[in-house]
Symmetry: C2
Subunit: 201 residues, 2 copies
């Protein structure tokens, strides 16, 4: 009867194994190649077993996206903590965002629907998917010396940052980018440029 815990532990482990297997397959062969039967092969079970841990394939993708958002949020917080000046914090956060995208290419793809067809409506429903927002608007407000964090102008600047960084990431994940040198230049120019333009005085 004390084996209940042991069994639960095994079950938890299998759940993790499923997610790990899925991500492993995707990293090796891409999102298109991911199938329930392949996951089953890796975890050495048959496909129907997976449905005792996840409602369907989509739920697995959603959980991976969720994990991605959690990692990204953590990276952003870490970057934020490493500086005191709001300008430096902002710069470090967008650099962290950029680094996350390439260190976790497959997760970024599913988080933001790049060459994957995971229903974005469902991904958007994840509460974790809206996470970064408050942290950014807070810092942007500080840089701009604006009190109200819900101000429209802060919102605008947030989207400006996000658009340029996400856009550059997307273009590169599609192999439509330029050299690393130019990427770096675009990224830093944009970030420092926007920061300079929003700083009062």
């Amino acid at each position: 009867m004390a084996s209940k815990e042991r069994i639960q532990r095994l079950k938890d482990e299998t759940r993790i194994n499923i997610l790990d297997a899925a991500l492993h397959i995707v990293k090796e062969e891409g999102w298109q190649a991911l199938s329930m039967r392949k996951i089953a092969d890796v975890i050495e079970y048959t496909a129907p077993i997976i449905y005792e841990y996840f409602a369907n394939k989509e739920a697995i993708l959603l959980e991976l996206a969720r994990k991605g958002y959690l990692i990204l949020a953590k990276d952003l917080r870490t970057a934020h903590e490493q500086h005191n000046l709001p300008e430096k914090q902002l710069e470090a956060m967008w650099l962290a965002y950029w680094n996350f995208a390439f260190a976790n290419k497959e997760l970024y793809q599913i988080m933001f629907g790049i060459t994957t067809n995971c229903s974005c409506e469902e991904v958007n429903k994840l509460e974790e998917s809206v996470m970064p927002w408050d942290l950014f608007t807070d810092v942007i407000g500080k840089v701009m010396h604006i009190e109200d964090p819900a101000s429209d102008v802060i919102c605008t600047k947030y989207y400006t940052f996000w658009s340029v960084v996400h856009g550059l990431v997307s273009i590169n994940l599609l192999s439509r980018g330029s050299s690393d040198a130019i990427n770096r230049q675009v990224l830093m120019d944009a970030i420092t440029g926007i920061i300079r333009s929003i700083k009062p005085e």
Copy 2:
């Protein structure tokens, strides 16, 4: 024997019907719902017939992407022609790009792999997919008063424009955007901001 041409005309028409049917289905039900059998239903044939016009499903997607790039290129040229000042041309072109994306949402999705898994390598191989480049670098060069259109700094600025516009489009196609008012603000701020920052004097 003169019916050869008539038959060829019918064949050409069927080919067009296939592409139209595919785009129609996608606009009604999304990329995920597109299947060879559904296309066959619409054109009132059975699925294998399609393979006499296209090598496979991917070829249909590729052709739609190609058509998208051609429309975009035309829109960009038209925008370019409607102004004389390079600054105005540049602004009009990126506005045209923005408008194209929302007027042809489904085409844009497949052209740039947004919630679709059409192999981006194949899309990148389309010669039409690199089209806009020369037109933009030319105008950017004029605004900056730089002769060499292959200059690194022009390349950098081109990617800066493209990143912010494509990023904002992507975010909105994912239903992750803000209000139309803020979209407009971000777009215009970014375009005019970059133009002002690259103009010498």
